[in-house]
Symmetry: C3
Subunit: 445 residues, 3 copies
């Protein structure tokens, strides 16, 4: 309640009355609803279009990370990303999907068997689940790949390829599906009333917790933190590629959030998807404006990587509830997301947690924020339940990830040697330099 | 009439008879039209898919501009583009959309209040406007961002960030919506019979006029024009990124022009969208072929930046009327667009108007050409009315932009100092270099 | 039969029973099928969305090739790709489309007249071909551009621009449409029962054969093969751009294969499109995993370009039959595709066939594999007929391409001079360097 008032005050720049969503249009009752078959096709289409947009986010993460690491580690980042997307798909088919969705029934896990789909030419119009089974699998699979992508950025420039891919397999085949089962699979959290529309917590925070755990177990890059606590900036190799990655992610997010409506076979569902597009877009815009303004004020210069992460934090923030907010509320939620990035990136450095691309502020912290704030605009959610969900999923992912990172560290080592780190992972593990012809500039570290 | 004959002669390379569109297929009268609800969903879907494609053009402009500026100004160009897209969205929500569309009624402006959308879960099937309100807003918003993107490229490498963003706010919140109201909002120009299907004038020329005014007020980059009138080429930093940007824009243009059909809930509307795809694609192809051939003939080498701008000029040219032309007419319109680029890029240099990326030829001049030539293929348009529209919108945007640029220049300065320009905007205003590790090549200027 | 057993054995890692596709869901017989009009709109929409995704593959090839050639030839590669896409579109309109589809009737060619489309506003619901004519043209056109793109990569770094564009015109206007007519146009191969769902042979192998012929006629790059048979690696200039290109192609492939269902107006068709998405995605994933694992084992390092080509080979392999395979079969087909790349890239070097980007293994050899293996999962196909189709199309394209390459070589020369090759095509033929500011690194060749 206090928070609602605070928010209302913050938003009182002339748009106060709009916080309450506008009255619904009179429904045109005489309309003929689309037939079950037509609804099925529209729903399937939403999953396929939303799905290919989210698949495209794999390229977005790749470009973002390739742009934000130093040139000596760019090829490795490319391999990791195309590798993790591939491993995620196979693992989510092999056990993840049914572990998450099959027979959870208010409990904790489903049944870890491979996913299967109807024969070619079979009609699949089941009024209970009125879409093609394969389209749903595809849509869910690209989400799990997104969670794994988050880990990749944080741990860049010092983690070995193979332990990273093994962790990816466990995360996408087991951990993500388990916490996913709790909510989207119809498990205990969903029965409790937890609300996470498109995955601020289920996808982004899960990836963020796994990344945080990995960063702690792995340690910072050599030279990142000086003995006196000073932080050495290690500038990324290509700002335009990082910017491209951000735009790709922004585009993909229309599929991420819009597709999470899960249906567009009715006028009302289609209108909701449209509304989600608007809120998603404007939350990101507010994240950008907040970071541009704040970095100008604080640092007297606009920090381009903050602006990019501001867009992403706005997107993560609105993901838990992209439908219910009015536009001013969406702007508020996104702007706070961007603000979180500006203030927590330096904080992580103080804690000597080396997050190469800023994924922990963007995905974990903005994800917590977005999940927590759902009850501000969605009356079916409660702050207590939101906190329960955030904490439960956080603890599970933290502990489970720590165990796996620990095992990998003990069993095969997860970090390259110091000399190899200095040389760059591309020369050591990949053997193909990313930019063999471009001179070593003065800032090469 | 004379022009029609000229065109017919030009096109008489064996395809003359195809200029008249082919006879319509016999209509299958027994078909059942889609229900109002299904039409609504299709229309909403067209806006959403078209909209995300046009949103993606923001990335295209970013890449095009990042590739065509020198490396010392690339980070700035990235910030400007993600910033302008964000500002455009917020301003167009805050006042632009209703200023453009609400209650114009044959007049000059609408009502500048924030846009609002139906509640979640509300059906929005209004037979008068059979689509989701939020999907229309989204589609229109990405258009206004496109107009602002055009300005960004022309003024690159010397304009300060903040005056640019302030101008963007005014352009997208006020100027673009006003001239938009005249036509698409149902204002005086539309009542007069002006025809601009997807915005050769309303979007591209508006952006182009604002860019031209800015370029004049701002002045050329230091060293661009020598004392004896010689032009110094300042080559862009990355041709592949510029090429990527062009392909992104080309892809986005299917949404831009195809979505401007505004409906695909009937067989006829869907077929028109398909026809628009074909004409849009082939006009761009003709622009490419024209510029490749002409630069080979004139300069004995094929100029890659001309080829890219040729594609874009072909796209801008067909945007005023992508539906009515037969394929040969679309090829002709696009080829002339490309030809305009080849001949006017040097002309601007003679006038010492420094347009970094060639946006004025591509968006302003090809936009004028495309708008003017509509009556060749669309019998509902007249050359006189087209000229009235081109001139009225041109004068308004020129004068209004000049006033704002002048105020910004007087109030806060719009241009960085000479030393800062030499150092590059990335170091001075952004603090993050785009490519910190890549050596300074011999051609660095 | 033997092969089926072999495959079953290979796949017997626990998923054997899934090779037989799961039993079809009980069909909900009470559903109302979508009306003819609604089906028409869905079908048209599939062509348009699938088409713009495949159009986007033109950008993917451009980025892949721009990343895999040396920086001195990048601008040329950009011109070639935007040029070939443009030429392909115009030629396929001018004669290709009707040569391929109009009046083939079990024979060898159709009627080479320009394509035409219904008037604006005309309904086009013909129950025989229930989609907009222009949408079909658009979808088919982007396929022919794909075939031409394949040639571009193989012949990079030494072929002149103009003979390449002339060859593209012949390939896209005449050769591709002729072999296309044999199968998709309803010609003799289709009557014989040849099966190539989305074009492993008709698109990818055709491009591959044309590329192979060109590579032989053109010869290897200077210095690629030493006098003692040693192979000199000429590393590409930008691995992140090559990776971006691969992701673009992967994304576009959902349109390529999914759209080739040619209909989504029924629940069954929509479910098939969804199934195609899943198989397409997982075949690519398997290609990646296979190449990562194999290069680690063989070379002790993971080769990033192999991983990228592994994804593409997986995609090409599943293209001949993306619908019928169960998931394990799709994984198997894709993994073998990736394996083919790992083993045939060195083989081509032994034969001194200089394929700059690896297009021959990826498109030709994986295309043959994918086409050959169709009968494993599709009972309507036979191995004998598959071989007949592969060989017939191969011989035609080889001979026809060789004739045209030979004529071009004799008439105008197809290769730049040695000195020009050393300088780079960008300086010699384009006049615009791709990266004018980036220093010449130590590995510049």
């Amino acid at each position: 309640m206090r928070l609602t008032n605070l928010f209302a005050a913050t938003a009182a720049f002339g748009a106060l009355s709009m916080l309450a969503a506008p009255p619904a249009l009179a429904q045109a009752a005489a309309q003929t609803p689309a037939s079950v078959d037509v609804q099925n096709i529209f729903n399937t289409l939403l999953f396929l279009v939303g799905g290919f947009l989210v698949m495209w986010m794999a390229a977005g993460f790749t470009m973002l990370e390739a742009g934000l690491v130093r040139s000596k580690n760019v090829s490795m980042q490319c391999v990791k990303n195309i590798g993790l997307y591939s491993v995620a798909g196979i693992m989510y088919w092999l056990i993840g999907y049914n572990l998450m969705y099959s027979g959870v029934d208010g409990g904790f896990i489903g049944t870890p068997v491979p996913a299967s789909f109807p024969d070619p030419g079979a009609a699949t119009a089941d009024p209970e689940a009125n879409y093609a089974a394969a389209s749903d699998w595809f849509f869910q699979m690209v989400f799990v790949a997104t969670a794994a992508s988050i880990v990749s950025g944080t741990l860049a420039e010092r983690i070995k390829l193979w332990p990273f891919l093994i962790f990816t397999a466990v995360l996408t085949g087991i951990f993500y599906p388990i916490t996913g089962a709790w909510q989207w699979g119809g498990g205990w959290l969903s029965e409790m009333g937890f609300s996470d529309f498109a995955g601020s917590t289920l996808v982004h925070s899960v990836g963020g917790w796994a990344a945080l755990t990995g960063a702690i177990v792995l340690g910072a890059r050599k030279g990142k933190y000086g003995p006196g606590g000073e932080v050495h900036v290690m500038p990324g190799s290509s700002i335009p590629l990082a910017t491209l990655g951000t735009f790709i992610l922004w585009l993909g997010w229309f599929g991420f959030n819009g597709g999470s409506q899960l249906a567009m076979g009715t006028v009302s569902d289609a209108a909701d998807v449209a509304r989600i597009f608007v809120n998603t877009n404007l939350a990101a815009a507010a994240g950008v404006v907040a970071t541009i303004a704040l970095t100008q004020i604080i640092y007297k210069k606009v920090d381009v990587t903050m602006a990019l992460n501001g867009a992403l934090a706005g997107l993560v923030s609105i993901t838990a509830e992209p439908l219910a907010p009015s536009v001013p509320a969406a702007l508020f939620i996104g702007a706070i997301g961007g603000t979180i990035v500006v203030f927590t990136v330096p904080l992580l450095d103080k804690l000597k947690i080396d997050d190469v691309v800023g994924a922990i502020p963007v995905h974990l912290l903005a994800g917590i924020w977005g999940t927590f704030i759902v009850p501000l605009t969605n009356n079916d959610a409660s702050y207590v339940t939101q906190i329960v969900g955030i904490v439960a999923i956080g603890i599970f992912t933290l502990v489970a990830s720590a165990v796996v990172w620990g095992i990998l560290k003990a069993a095969m080592g997860i970090r390259v040697g110091d000399e190899e780190e200095a040389l760059g992972l591309d020369k050591v593990e990949i053997g193909v330099e990313a930019y063999p012809e471009f001179g070593t500039g003065s800032q090469r570290i």
